[in-house]
Symmetry: C2
Subunit: 224 residues, 2 copies
DNA sequence: CGGGAAGTTGAAGCCAGTCAAGATTTGTGG
DNA sequence: CCACAAATCTTGACTGGCTTCAACTTCCCG
């Protein structure tokens, strides 16, 4: 961005906002007047079904954009919830589109962000549809870990992991019990350790090989 | 669109193109100079894995937009292939962005299309992650059927279905055998008939109930 | 220190995968 | 127009990865 663009973007930032852990940010079906960029903290996107089951659609990290669906389609297709305390950059929806009409490059970035999410969901779908439990879990954790690296959340091989095993299970379409047992196997193989609050990836290369994963490529993306 | 907008859009249409059934339109990893809107015919989006398995990411119907990922991220994350003969409206990528800078409303539409795809993939992920085989198949077929209705491909309760059972299986993460047996059960229950080339939905309401699906809502979306 | 949430582990059962063979349809060359 | 081959669909039998059920342990936090 040029300095002028940054200034213009700043002008449309309504403010910042703190959210406590375990609090919903946007609910499924909501048509919020606000949009957010995550400044810090982590969260979850999920859908709830009538029978009480839950599908976690993605994990939310700093830099993520929240509320695009509501802006463009009129309502969110999933709920977004804070897993840790979060700080959000708040934009106003109406101003937002005014801003975009004036800055087509930002519209391009927005489309880019949507395309990145689409791409990720395609990969997630492939993991759920085609991979057995162990490679599926490896794929998910490696992907989160790579994303965390890009936003500097890692300390060497480790990163904060504020999610429960139940969350991971709900993301991957596995039962909690099987998820737990598979994580135990991974821990014993010394390739990866998931302990409460912390994920450590000891050998990404070996993990990729044992799980038959070609590569975990997190695409470059713009930040608003 | 206003008449002027239609005219401007027409100007950036490079031409039309016919594609034979079973021909790839855009390959995974490709960075095409062209974008397409489907005028007629049906296709598939899919990803291939190293072990030879295949995940079908979506079914392609008239009105669908192809090539957004390559435009914005530099490469396609999946392959798009024609299942029937198709006619495509061709746009040039470079001109395209020029056009969009001049017409922000079209940029809005593009983002909308990306958001619709993101929403669909979230629902597909939920189906694969949370639903057993029978409701999963019902969800997929009802969704395709509703989409087909919106573009007037249905004749009463029926629609052309150019895909094999193997395609459906690869879309839903099920084996061909189990897909076949589940389809047989649905046929016997008189709710739905899938025969080669033709899908007939006899009782959408009852299907939704037996499959525990709240509603199949295909969001409104712009067409370029 | 007590209670609730999260993590762990074992046992039993089932949904869906795999293997295998046959039936049906489609396409094609003689 | 027929005959053969290839692709797709169908069905049965067996197997196994994952789910469910259940109990126990560990970790927090008030």
């Amino acid at each position: 961005m040029t300095p002028e663009e940054v200034a213009a973007t700043q002008k449309f930032k309504v403010g910042e906002m703190s959210i406590a852990a375990r609090t919903p940010i946007l609910m499924e079906g909501a048509n919020s007047a606000q949009l957010f960029t995550v400044l810090s903290g982590m969260g979850l996107r999920y859908k709830l079904l009538a029978d009480g089951s839950r599908q976690i659609v993605n994990f939310v990290l700093p830099g993520d954009f929240i509320g695009l669906q509501a802006s463009v389609m009129g309502e969110m297709a999933h709920t977004v919830e804070a897993s840790t305390d979060m700080r959000l950059c708040v934009f106003d929806r109406t101003e937002f589109w005014t801003f975009f009409r004036a800055h087509p490059e930002r519209a391009y970035d927005l489309t880019w962000l949507a395309a990145v999410e689409e791409r990720f969901l395609g990969e997630a779908l492939t993991a759920l549809g085609q991979r057995p439990a162990l490679p599926r879990i490896v794929w998910a954790l490696l992907t989160i870990w790579e994303r965390a690296r890009l936003v500097d959340l890692t300390e060497g091989p480790s990163m904060p992991f504020p999610w429960r095993q139940q969350d991971l299970a709900d993301a991957l379409g596995l039962s909690l019990v099987h998820t737990n047992k598979t994580l135990a196997r991974l821990r014993q193989s010394q390739l990866l350790t998931l302990s409460p609050g912390k994920l450590t990836v000891h050998d990404p290369e070996a993990l990729r090989r044992t799980a038959g994963i070609e590569e975990v490529e997190v695409p470059q993306r713009p930040i608003l």
